[in-house]
Every structure is written in structure tokens, then in C-alpha cells.
Symmetry: C2
Subunit: 410 residues, 2 copies
């Protein structure tokens, strides 16, 4: 240890950023306020009641009546792994759709559970092709699970979860669905679609502090896991143990819950219920239309074809002639705005503009367009001053829900 | 979903409790304040600098210069599992010491990694017996790892980590050490002891919000894991992937870090550095002496023999004739004080009084003694009014560090 370095470390004061990257999104003051309330014990009766409310609120967010619906004490990667370690036994075949970074991570998970991944491949930026999934099942009718990402954060593409789930049903397979970026931003209808294991993240459209991941399991998956012949390879992620903690009847010590993070998730979900899911979806659409009009007016082209675009995650090709990283660096340094870079094969080729949860508000859209315009102008790109802002406002004004929630949660 | 239930859920306001259970411990206002600072991106250069500081502060807490020292984005159970999944390959023999609940959990972890656990058994409340460990190694010289709990939260017993590590060294074995309850409460000297994989929790003597677990790995373990023939069974816990995120040179996306929880850990560690490790250890000793004098005056007997008692976790036998659960229920309901119950075979037989971190202060000791005295009196136990408080104060006054830190961090 270098004691000079050590004594030079003092309290940390982060800057106030406008967060328009792939997450975390901005957090409403009510959610911060909830997070700072007194810590209490994880078996305190008052805490246990709050846990029950959390489960109920998450059932609303997921549109499900699944009994086993709770927030995992870890990021979305833990929830993803929780699905695979419980549902995949050595030797199992799993059809995994890869059209981005998170599909690739699913394949890794299958392999580490001793399963075989049958990979359905689509280009980054394209949705999962249902015909390819159908073909994969035809060639592998014994496949037990279909796993796919509903909303690929790495590219901003939405896949048709309902259609993909129907194919899985025809082949009597379970489904694992990543809704990290979709939940509360576009419809996620767990019961209507009949999907089995669905997880999300706290820090995207729920606008809560990062570190938790809501998850829901259908009853048939719970029964299936209980009847496994081989033990689940992870102790922490074994849902048969977690049932004792988050289940309906017992409250057995499993791990120390992240108390204050759970307070903040509770508040974020109460706010979602107050706004209403439909209104939240409309808000994301409305601000997406405005952002899109502005970005296109600036000469930026979307990576994803129109019908498959996620309103909350807007990936555009980098402006030809401009330095991709320099634009992001200057946005952060000069305007306090964070946007996302490309991942994997898209590194250096795209920018990602997230408008998720509390970050999804007209002031962010407008600030971002002003900043880009000012910078592009400065860097010598040919643009018409003020046109992007005007286009964004026109798109906003033309939206049937304009004026709704512009002030409250924008 | 029951929409009536749903709409009845409003913001959550927890009571202000005095936390004297097994954790979480109370949280200093400075730490809460840090937690509520603006969320920023996990690849923001300002955040990356804070991560570097966190690593340095944790090296101080662990008294180590290990490069791979960082806070895991999950509770202590995840850190425990992280040690085992990285270091145990199928077929490996691991000597595991069980003298409480957390030793038992280690055995489960070994088995789920496909390893064989050689169990060294000691009674709950007794420390790990070094002679038994020596014997286990004699009978299993090929054992690769020795795993033990330094401070058993379930009983309040400390084991002699230095001596146990020396035995492991003689047999050229790695060590995995659980310091969840010991770190910052009693000396944890990672480099001096030469232990290899050591994890803790944020919510005990560090007095930070629950949900993070500091961990440190020796360089030789990192090299060993890199050279594994079989892949680590967990994607999330694979330290070769985490090196890309928490390592010294690169900063590759792995998962979204729990930003605000990390702010609060940073602040808690800055406060620990300001107080100084030695002063923190002395504070735990001082308040333990006071609490102990008071509890014994009330007629309560310690579970653990004197030389092995953890100052921060005081387990006593339940007062004969009193209803164990009723005492805890009334302490919570009437005095807002949380204490811990017994776990496993000790359920219903002991009470556990935690004085960890910011909960380790004279006002908590005194309040707790007053509350117990008042209740015991009410329940018909024969006690001398005021004697426990007087005894506690005498013990406090006799301590060489009295008056130091009584106001600041008590």
C-alpha cells in the first residue's frame, strides 16, 4: 500500500450528468430519497411487508401473476445466469438466438452449464428471425429451451417475443427471455405471451439504482427445477433455496438483502404504477419520435430498420468524417452528456442514444440535439442551424399524447 | 394481479431502528449522503477514478497489496461462491472447517463445484481446532485448498486465521477465508497471514449499505485460475473476465456496476481510513467489554469461551424461563432494537447482540441494556435495577482507549 495515495483519497462527488447511454439511466429525486431511508434488518416484519409489496409491484411491471417474481440481489448478468443454471442440466440442448452482445452471453451460459447451444444467428441490428428459430426446432425437436433477448441493448433492436414464444410452445420448450432494456419501455406481457423465465435490470426503463434485477419464473419452471436429478451448480442462484426467502409462506435466511437498493426499487415501481405502464410506453414512443426526427435532420441514419426499433435505445451510424470517440468525449466533457458507444463488431461504428425511464424526457432530447448540433458545426459538418430542434418539436407536437407527462416524468 | 392490492401500495417509510443484530449494521449519515449523489455511467472517467480509489481503500482494509482487490456486485454469498467456483475444479479435495452456518455453506459450494469436501468439524460456538486441520491434511496431503470462516456470524466465535494459514502453507494448499464479520472489527491481515482468497461484506463492520462484498485474491491464485484446464462454471463470477473490468489496465464492459452502492462503500472506507484500523479495532473491543459486563450482570452467559469471542458479535444463552422470540419481538416493537436469533441447532437457544461498525457505540450498548433490564423486570426475572448499566460504564471507564471516538464514530 502506498500511504500517500491512501491519504489523498477523500469523499467522492460525482458530476451531475445527463445520462443518455445504455444505462444506468437518470434517477428521480423520489427514488434517491427512498434509498437514503434508515436501513432495517432483512427479517424485520416491516421489511418483510415491503418485500411482499415489491413482488406485487413487479408482477404489475411484468404483467404476470407468477408467484416467484422478485428482485435478484445482483445485476442483470446474475439474473441471466440464474435462468440458465436452474433450467439447463448437463447434456441439454438449448436454442439460443444471437443478434447482439447479450445473445452471445447466453451461449456462454449454456456452455458453462454443460448444455449444448444451438445458435440461431442474425446480424447485429437485425431482429431474431422466427423462420430460423422454427428451422432450429425442426432440426432439434428435443431442444428443451428457447432463449432470446427481447430488446438488444447493444444495437437497439426489438425482437417479436410473442411469435418466438409461440414457436417454442409448439415444440413444448421452455423460454428464457432477456427484457433488461424493454421492461417499462415497451410492452412486456409475460402471461399473455406465456414465457417462462424472464429477467430485467433496475437501471434501465425502471430508472432505479443499478445493482438489482427483477425476475419472474412460471410455476411450471419452478416445478421443473424442483424435480431436477442433478443439483443446480450455483448455491446463490438456486431458486429452490431462494423460494425459502422470497416465497409466499416462509422467510428463511438466505443472504442479506440489499436493503436500501430495494427501497429505491420499491419507490421506482410505485412511480411506474402511478404513471401507468401504458403511459410509460407512450412516453418512450413520443420522445423517441422527437429524438429520431432530430437525429435524422442532423444527417444521422439509424442502424435498425424502422419496424424493429426500440424507442428507448437509438443506435445510429457515426457521422461520416467525424471521430466517433472524440464526439463522445466532448459531449461528456463540454455538455455533461453521456451517450453509448458501439460494442463488439459495431465498436467505432455507431453511437447509442438511450432515453430510458427518467432519462426519457423532452429536455434531454432537446439538450442532446443542441449539443450535437453545436459540436458538429464546430467540427465542420454541414448542418442547418436549428433544424434538428424544430424537427424534434414538430414530431413531439404531432404525437397524440403530447403534453401528457411532459413535466411530471416527461 | 389484484389491482386493489396494487393501488394500496404507497411509498415505503421504514422505522428508525437501533440495529444490534447480525447485520446490516447502522449506517452513518455521511454514507447515506454519498449514496444519494448523482448516478453516472460505469465507464465515465470520473467513475473509473473512483473505482481505483475503492481498490486502494479496500487494500488498506484488508491489509494487502493484492492487485485483484475489489467489491463484488452482490452479497457475501456471491463472494464466497466466487472463491470456490474459480479455485475448485471437479475432483479437487478441499478441507472445509465447519463450526457454524457459514462453514456448512462452504461445503455446499465445494460439492456444487464437483469437488470433495473433507470436513473438519467443531461444535457451534467453538473455534476451528488447528490440530484437527493438521490431521485432515496428514490424511489428505493432496488437498488443494483449506477453507474456513474467520469470524462465524452465527455464533460469534473467532478462529485463529494465522495458525490455520500456516498449516495450509506447510501442505502447499491455497486458503479461502470468510471475513464477512471480522473485517474492520478485529485484525484481518491478509498479506501477513499469506491467505489467498478473502472476502467480506459491506453491511457488517464497514457499516455500508448491504449488497456489496469486498474480495481480494493473491497473485498466485489469479495465475492458477488463468491456467485452469476446465472453464469456471459461472460466467458472472469468473475472475478472468472480472480482471478486464476491475483490473489495472483495461476497462471492458462486464456488468453495470451498482453505482450508488459503490459511492457509499467509498465513503464508508474513507471514514475507516480517517478513524484508522487500529482505532476501529479498539472501539469494538471497548464497547464489547462494556456490553459484556452489562449482559453478564443481567445474568446472561456467553456461548463462546472468552479467548475466542468476537467483540462485534456477542452470543449469549437465552435467560432461563423467558420466551426467546417474545423478548426479540418486544425489543423491536417497544424499543426499536433489533437483535439476532440463533440459527440452525442454536435456534431458540441464544440471542446475538451485534455491535458492528457504526452500531458499535456506547449509546447502543446502554440503550440495549436499559431495554433488556426493563423487559426482564417486566417479565418477572430477578434483577438488580441499574446494575447492568453501572457495570457497563465501569468496564468502559477502565478501558485504555476510553473517551476516544465516543462522539465521532463512538
Amino acid at each position: 500500500m502506498d500511504s500517500n495515495t491512501l491519504t489523498s483519497i477523500s469523499s467522492f462527488y460525482p458530476p451531475q450528468r445527463t445520462l443518455m447511454g445504455p444505462g444506468p439511466s437518470e434517477i428521480h429525486p423520489r427514488v434517491f430519497s427512498a434509498m437514503g431511508r434508515p436501513t432495517i434488518g432483512y427479517l424485520d416484519p416491516v421489511f418483510v411487508k415491503m418485500m411482499d409489496e415489491l413482488k406485487e409491484l413487479l408482477r404489475y411491471a411484468f404483467q404476470t401473476s407468477n408467484a416467484l417474481t422478485f428482485p435478484v440481489s445482483g445485476p442483470g448478468s446474475v439474473s441471466m445466469e440464474m435462468c440458465f443454471v436452474n433450467m439447463v442440466s448437463p447434456g441439454d440442448k438449448v436454442i439460443v438466438c444471437r443478434n447482439g452482445v447479450f445473445g452471445a452471453r447466453m451461449i456462454e451460459n449454456v456452455q458453462r452449464c454443460g448444455g449444448t447451444a444451438i445458435v440461431v444467428e442474425d446480424a447485429m441490428g437485425s431482429p431474431v428471425d422466427p423462420n430460423k428459430v422454427e428451422e432450429a426446432f425442426r432440426n432439434n425437436p428435443e431442444a428443451k429451451i428457447l432463449a432470446f433477448v427481447h430488446a438488444e441493448t447493444s444495437t437497439g433492436v426489438a425482437s417479436d417475443a410473442k411469435t418466438l414464444a409461440e414457436i417454442a410452445h409448439r415444440y413444448d420448450a421452455y423460454t428464457i427471455v432477456d427484457t433488461v432494456t424493454s421492461l417499462a419501455g415497451i410492452p412486456v406481457l409475460v402471461d399473455e405471451w406465456g414465457v417462462d423465465a424472464v429477467y430485467s435490470g433496475s437501471q434501465k426503463c425502471l430508472s432505479c439504482t443499478p445493482g438489482l434485477s427483477p425476475i419472474t419464473f412460471s410455476d411450471r419452471v419452478v416445478e421443473y427445477v424442483k424435480s431436477r436429478k442433478t443439483p443446480v451448480q450455483s448455491w446463490f442462484m438456486d431458486i429452490t433455496l431462494l423460494l425459502g426467502y422470497w416465497g409466499d409462506t416462509t422467510r428463511t435466511y438466505h443472504h442479506t438483502a440489499p436493503t436500501n437498493a430495494l427501497y429505491s426499487l420499491h419507490e421506482a415501481l410505485v412511480m411506474l404504477r402511478e404513471e401507468g405502464l401504458e403511459a410509460a410506453w407512450a412516453r418512450h414512443q413520443r420522445n423517441h419520435k422527437a429524438l429520431r426526427a432530430g437525429l435524422e435532420t442532423l444527417g444521422l441514419n439509424f442502424l435498425v430498420e424502422e419496424p424493429y426499433r426500440l424507442p428507448q435505445m437509438n443506435a445510429v451510424h457515426v457521422m461520416p468524417g467525424l471521430d466517433e470517440a472524440e464526439v463522445r468525449r466532448r459531449l461528456l466533457a463540454e455538455f455533461n452528456i453521456e451517450i453509448g458507444a458501439g460494442l463488439g463488431t459495431l465498436a467505432g461504428k455507431i453511437w447509442r442514444f438511450g432515453i430510458m425511464g427518467y432519462s426519457c424526457k423532452m429536455e434531454n432530447v432537446m439538450l442532446c440535439l443542441c449539443a450535437l448540433e453545436s459540436m458538429f458545426d464546430d467540427m465542420g459538418a454541414k448542418i442547418e442551424i436549428g433544424a434538428a430542434e424544430a424537427a424534434a418539436y414538430h414530431a413531439y407536437a404531432a404525437h397524440p399524447t403530447r403534453g401528457k407527462g411532459m413535466r411530471a416524468v416527461a
